[in-house]
Amino acid sequence: MATIQVFDPALCCSTGVCGVEVDQQLVGFSADVDWAEQQGAAIERFNLAQQPMLFAENAVVKAFLERSGAEALPLILVDGDMALAGRYPNRTELARWAGIKETAEKPASGCCSGNSCG
């Protein structure tokens, strides 16, 4: 199964609680990660504020930061290749990368299912 790596911006809380508004995307994404992991997906998250060395040591991530800066995060790699940048994936995307067959269960962060369309 593919390995999904998520390189988060420097968040003091992954929930974004420290922001003026709680980022609804982050909220949904955390739940989607839990879901995908339960389906057997291998997902790793790295926070720029906690593990910057992992950003510096990965050539793809480092080059991305040099080109676009920290404000362009998050960056998602699948098996080391860039899969998505600038936003968090939805459940369908996670499922595709991880090779999970989606059941009838509704995605938690699908665009337009909530009130925030990124």
Binding site: C12, V17, G19, V20, F46, A49
Partner: protein
């Protein structure tokens, strides 16, 4: 011999807690000396950023256990929480400096510059002292001049906090995030928290002044810490003005009356605690002799003749208002630690501006609400409104829990709830409420009794969240300006730092200023509130304090502020238009 209750059969660990300026460090020093004089082996741990423990004993201490030759049995250690946080930041950021782009390194550093990081870094230093080790085994008592907050302890007690992030260094971050960069193991933190909640080993002494607002705050601290198992608590009221000082002096009499009224109306939850009252002393609390006297339970010998402060001619609030009025409109924000009188100062500024015929909107977070009630409708150009910080925070918490919380399992939800109890949350919720009226500052004066810290502004600016928040609330036709730009421009926004003429409050205010400067905001002025030096008093004790204030006022004038004002301690509560104008120094 002392008869103080908190010293009776003192357990191994003694923690003093209370807000800056109540005298925790002096009392902790005096306690350590007294225990050592009684033949015990004592370690004194100071985290006071203005620590003068070394000075007291005539020895340089610093971040290592140092024995104090002049007091047999006593050793001391100074922990600088800021330095501890810096060491931690360097450990995380150091290896990527020069490798990742400078802007990226900056964004990482900002995330690690909040109050949470400092607090957790300081707790990390405590942990070693609370665990039995060769380092501490020789001591009968370890005396700390500060205590961890309820927020920190609760986080460490949550199983969810430890599950992923600390164990594997990845996964869900939280306010505990900084701990993942610290090297200790979970069992060590657990042992430290256990020691804190063990009444046979740990006693907590809440230090307060005889002031209503301070006692209310202490009552909250007491309940919060008792709830998490910190049950062995004592109360100490410091620096009470003795009755003997009130002869023929209206100011001393007013202070005495106010203090006694506050003590009589002490919150119910504090009444059941064993309590010690320590009287205000005439002498400066520097040197061994003075500290040995501090806890001696008798009236101060106020016989020393002290001169009145000669010809006090410092600028007053009205002088600042003259300059503020020139702009015709703008945002005026008061910033400072709790208890320095921001709400009163904001009201005095607003009334002073309105009285000149300028349009003013005053918005306060005054919990007592009496201020807005007494001022509303009192002046033609003045409108007043009030937000309730607790209600705003609660609304914000609830909103987050309803959205984010709904998707989490039990452990995750508990962690989220605790994250929402961090000091940042209240600051953000309150500022969010205030930001609704900021746009009015284009036409009139908007005076606020609070301001966000530089750290919060930088975080919000970086994520763009604040930006979105304010643009959403601006008319689409409004002139476009980022909120950060508005706050950085002193023609549009003036930040006034409020403080007291005492060592720790001035130092805390200087830290707030440094934090704002990181966000590119230069405080416009400082206001020193409740100054005794700016009053006339015959009381020897108060004159002594007035003399001590001069050094702090001088430091503000020459080291910290571009311009400043001194506001006297008033005899009557400054309520209503005319008293507020008096306070500002209108003739």
């Amino acid at each position: 011999m002392s008869t103080l209750k908190f010293l009776d059969q003192a357990p191994r660990f003694l923690f003093f807690t209370g807000k800056g300026g109540v005298g925790k460090t002096s009392i902790a020093c005096a306690t350590a000396i007294q225990l050592a004089d009684a033949g015990r082996q004592v370690l004194l741990v100071s985290t006071d950023p203005a620590s003068n423990v070394g000075q007291v004993f005539g020895i340089s201490i610093g971040n290592q256990i140092t024995s104090i030759p002049v007091v047999p049995g006593l050793s001391a250690l100074e922990i600088d929480p800021q330095a501890a946080a810096q060491v931690y930041r360097d450990r995380i950021v150091g290896p990527v400096r020069g490798i990742l782009p400078e802007s990226v390194v900056k964004s990482i550093e900002e995330q690690l510059s909040g109050a949470c990081t400092t607090e957790i870094a300081a707790f990390d230093e405590f942990t070693a002292l609370l665990n039995d080790s060769t380092l501490t085994v020789a001591y009968d008592h370890i005396v700390f001049d500060t205590a961890p907050t309820g927020h920190t302890i609760r986080l460490l007690q949550l199983p969810g906090a430890w599950s992923d992030f600390l164990a594997e260094g990845k996964g869900d971050a939280s306010c505990l995030g900084p701990l993942s960069g610290l090297e200790k193991q979970q069992d060590q933190y657990k042992a430290a928290v256990d020691a804190l909640s063990d009444a046979s080993r740990t006693r907590l002494i809440l230090v307060a002044r005889a002031q209503q607002s301070t006692l209310r705050e202490v009552a909250r601290t007491h309940e919060e810490l008792a709830t998490i198992g910190f049950r062995n608590q004592y109360l100490l009221i410091n620096a009470i003005l003795p009755l003997s000082e009130t002869n023929n002096d209206p100011l001393a009499l007013a202070i005495y009356t106010r203090e006694q009224a506050a003590l009589n109306a002490i919150p119910v939850v504090l009444r059941e605690l064993p309590r010690d009252d320590v009287l205000l002393k005439a002498f400066n609390l520097v040197g061994l002799t003075a500290l040995r006297q501090l806890l001696v339970d008798k009236e101060a010998q106020a016989s020393l003749p002290v001169d009145a402060v000669a010809a006090f001619d410092k600028p007053n609030l009205a002088d600042l208002v003259d300059e503020i009025a020139l702009e015709g409109h703008g945002l005026i924000m008061l910033m400072g630690k709790g208890g320095v009188g921001k709400t009163t100062l904001a009201a005095a500024l607003a009334v002073s501006l309105a009285q000149r015929g300028l349009p003013v909107h005053l918005t306060t977070s005054d919990p007592a609400a009496h201020l807005s009630e007494t001022l509303n409708g009192s002046l033609e150009n003045l409108t007043v409104d009030r937000i309730d910080p607790h209600a705003e925070t609660e609304r914000y918490r609830q909103q987050v829990l309803d959205t984010k919380g709904a998707l989490l399992d039990e452990a995750g939800r508990a962690l989220l709830e605790e994250d929402l109890r961090s000091p940042c949350t209240e600051e953000i919720a309150v500022f969010q409420a205030f930001s609704r009226i900021i746009r009015e500052a284009g036409q009139k004066f908007v005076v606020m009794d609070t301001a966000p810290t530089g750290h919060t502004l930088l975080l919000l600016d970086a994520t763009g969240a604040y930006h979105r928040e304010v643009t959403r609330q601006m008319d689409s036709t409004a002139h476009y300006l980022t909120p950060m730009m508005q706050l950085q421009d002193t023609h549009q926004t003036k930040v006034l730092i409020a403080t007291l003429a005492e060592t720790t409050p001035v130092l805390e205010a200087a830290n707030l200023q440094a934090d704002l400067r990181r966000a590119g905001i230069e405080p416009w002025a400082w206001v020193i509130n409740n100054s005794i030096a700016a009053t006339q008093t015959n009381s020897a004790l108060l004159r002594q304090r007035a003399q001590n204030e001069l050094r702090e006022i001088d430091a503000v004038a020459h080291q910290h502020a571009h311009r400043y004002a001194v506001v006297p301690l008033s005899i009557e509560e400054p309520i209503g238009v005319s008293r507020l104008l008096d306070l500002a120094g209108h003739k």
